[in-house]
């Protein structure tokens, strides 16, 4: 499949209101430039799945009114404190929360990856995480003797969206050791990727690069977005912008401050 890089908005065009969107955890290649573009476009009613946690990205999308349902294991700004828009939305009841635990999200996506209807997982029994998940079931293991185990239905997102170091002109994307990005892409109906740059040669022809490559077969569209994870880190490439994250934590603490943040860093300009 030969593809050419598109503009950011063109690449994101097939992501529609109400879609189930899966995105990676805060340090694994978060598509922040794409997230800002989606907020500018006014995307609505997302079922957002953060694999398995999120920070700034989920908080921004929630604060901007793009999210109807959030399915994840945790949202926080890490050393910069609680995620203010997430906490406000959950306490006000303005989003539907589907609390999970990290390995459950990985396992439910792996079920889709394998094309099977569910995946069993240890743990969970006796927790309120399980109690509030009507979609999860407990069965007695058919291979055991009174051995209850949780079954998670396959999670099949409409779209996987992430940021990676590079792609080639054949649509192959180099993800390195961030292998959960491949699980996301294998599980989702369509995958949209932003990258730092285009690699001139075919990534699959270099055995060292091929092992860390997601084949273009899985990828619908690619856009170049330099520093596209900013202000979050791109692993093995650049670190987080701690100063900006601290600024966000301060501004997003109030409704007005968050509105000002959107005006300044999302609507007004293509930041950094």
């Amino acid at each position: 499949m030969v593809q050419s890089a598109k503009s950011l908005d063109e690449a994101l065009a097939s992501l529609s209101d109400g879609a189930m969107l899966v995105v990676p955890r805060e340090v694994s290649g978060v598509p922040m430039a794409a997230t800002r573009a989606l907020i500018r476009r006014g995307l609505k009613r997302l079922h957002l799945v953060a694999l398995p946690t999120s920070s700034l990205q989920a908080d921004l999308l929630i604060g901007a009114g793009c999210v109807a349902t959030l399915e994840t294991s945790a949202v926080s700004l890490g050393e910069f404190g609680p995620a203010p828009r997430f906490c406000a939305a959950v306490t006000a009841g303005t989003i539907r929360m589907m609390d999970a635990t990290c390995p459950a999200l990985h396992a439910a996506l792996q079920a889709s990856e394998k094309g099977v209807p569910f995946m069993p997982l240890r743990g969970l029994i006796g927790s309120d995480v399980l109690k509030y998940r009507d979609d999860w079931k407990v069965i007695d293991s058919p291979f055991g003797n009174s051995d209850p185990i949780v079954l998670l239905p396959a999670l099949k997102p409409d779209v996987a969206l992430f940021h990676a170091p590079m792609a080639d002109r054949f649509g192959n994307v180099w993800i390195g050791r961030q292998r959960e990005l491949a699980t996301m892409a294998h599980a989702a109906e369509r995958t949209i990727v932003t990258v730092e740059k285009i690699h001139e040669a075919n990534l699959l022809e270099d055995p060292l690069l091929a092992a860390g490559t997601l084949a273009g077969f899985y990828v619908e569209s690619i856009a170049v977005a330099e520093r596209g994870a900013w202000p979050l880190p791109l692993p093995d490439h650049y670190g987080a912008d701690a100063e900006h994250l601290a600024l966000y934590a301060r501004m997003a603490a109030s409704d007005q401050g968050f509105a000002d943040y959107l005006d300044k860093y999302v609507h007004d300009k293509r930041a950094a």
Binding site: R25, V27, S28, L51, P52, T53, T72, S73, A74, V75, S76, G78, E79, P82, A83, F86, C87, V90, T91, G93, D99, A100, T101, C102, P103, A104, H106, A107, Q110, L121, R122, G123, L124, I125, G126, S127, D128, V129, L130, K131, Y132, S146, D147, P148, I149, R177, Q178, R179, E180, L181, A182, T183, P235, D236
Partner: protein, 251 residues
């Protein structure tokens, strides 16, 4: 403190306590935002000449997982992680931890980040050390409002893991038979104070020893060797607690 004892910081005492709890095991994993458990794990590794193997989330140098974030959980599910650490917005006397919210789940008063991996790791990691540096009736409660992960399970539930201890800024509790027992009180703190600030009931022996202070050799190891390793993942903490400067960071 007598003049024979060296001065130490609370963080150093707690890391020393946790390093003893880790004991002789093969693999210790430390989650995000856990600088004191990370110090303890690195201290244990230094004392054991490389054993246990230490995995520090967030440290490219100290994690071997190359098959995605799920590899940690797969590793734990197979019993390949012996020790892990958990905290909680609330912890109750039966060892239940709450990382989700206070009040009614549908209408929470305070929302915490979420359960992370606790609803799985608490069950499958043999030694889970609970850790909370705010020892108060707000955090140590009679009953948690939401069970992210329970302290104990029904006999037929697969449960090779669970809590072995709770370390706070005031004391060390051990966990056994479904409840906490006051094992020792840290220097400068008292049993009365522990009762005053603990919301749950616990077993208290007639005589409660004082937590031993870190020895000069332990303090030297932490300050001169462990602090430099720690600085890769927790630069702020390494600077504040151990005075590690930027130039000393191990790359």
């Amino acid at each position: 403190m007598t003049s024979a004892q060296p001065e130490f910081r609370t963080e150093e005492l707690l890391a020393d306590v946790i390093a003893r709890l880790i004991g002789d095991v093969r693999h210790v994993a430390v989650g995000n935002a856990s600088p004191i458990p990370a110090t303890a794990a690195l201290l244990a590794r230094q004392r054991g000449n490389g054993r246990p193997y230490v995995s520090l989330l967030g440290s490219p140098k100290n994690t071997f997982w190359t098959d995605g974030a799920r590899e940690l959980f797969d590793c734990a599910g197979q019993g390949r992680i012996d020790v892990f650490f958990l905290s909680g917005g609330q912890i109750d006397g039966r060892g239940n931890v709450n990382l989700v919210s206070t009040g009614d789940y549908a209408h929470p008063q305070v929302r915490f980040p979420g359960s992370f991996g606790s609803a799985y790791l608490y069950y499958v990691v043999p030694k889970v050390i609970l850790f909370r540096t705010e020892h108060s009736r707000r955090t140590l409660v009679p009953q948690v409002d939401f069970i992210s992960a329970p302290g104990a399970s029904e006999p037929n539930v697969f449960r090779p893991g669970g809590p072995i201890a709770l370390v706070t800024n005031r004391c060390l509790f051990s966990f056994g038979g479904g409840r906490f027992r006051l094992d020792s009180v840290h220097p400068g703190h008292t049993v009365d104070e522990v009762f005053e600030h603990t919301g749950f009931e616990f077993e208290c022996p007639a005589a409660v020893p004082q937590t031993p202070a870190p020895t000069p050799a332990t303090l030297r190891l932490m300050r001169e060797t462990v602090a430099l390793q720690l600085a890769e993942v927790y630069p702020q903490f390494a600077r504040q607690v151990f005075g590690v400067g930027e130039q000393a960071f191990v790359r």
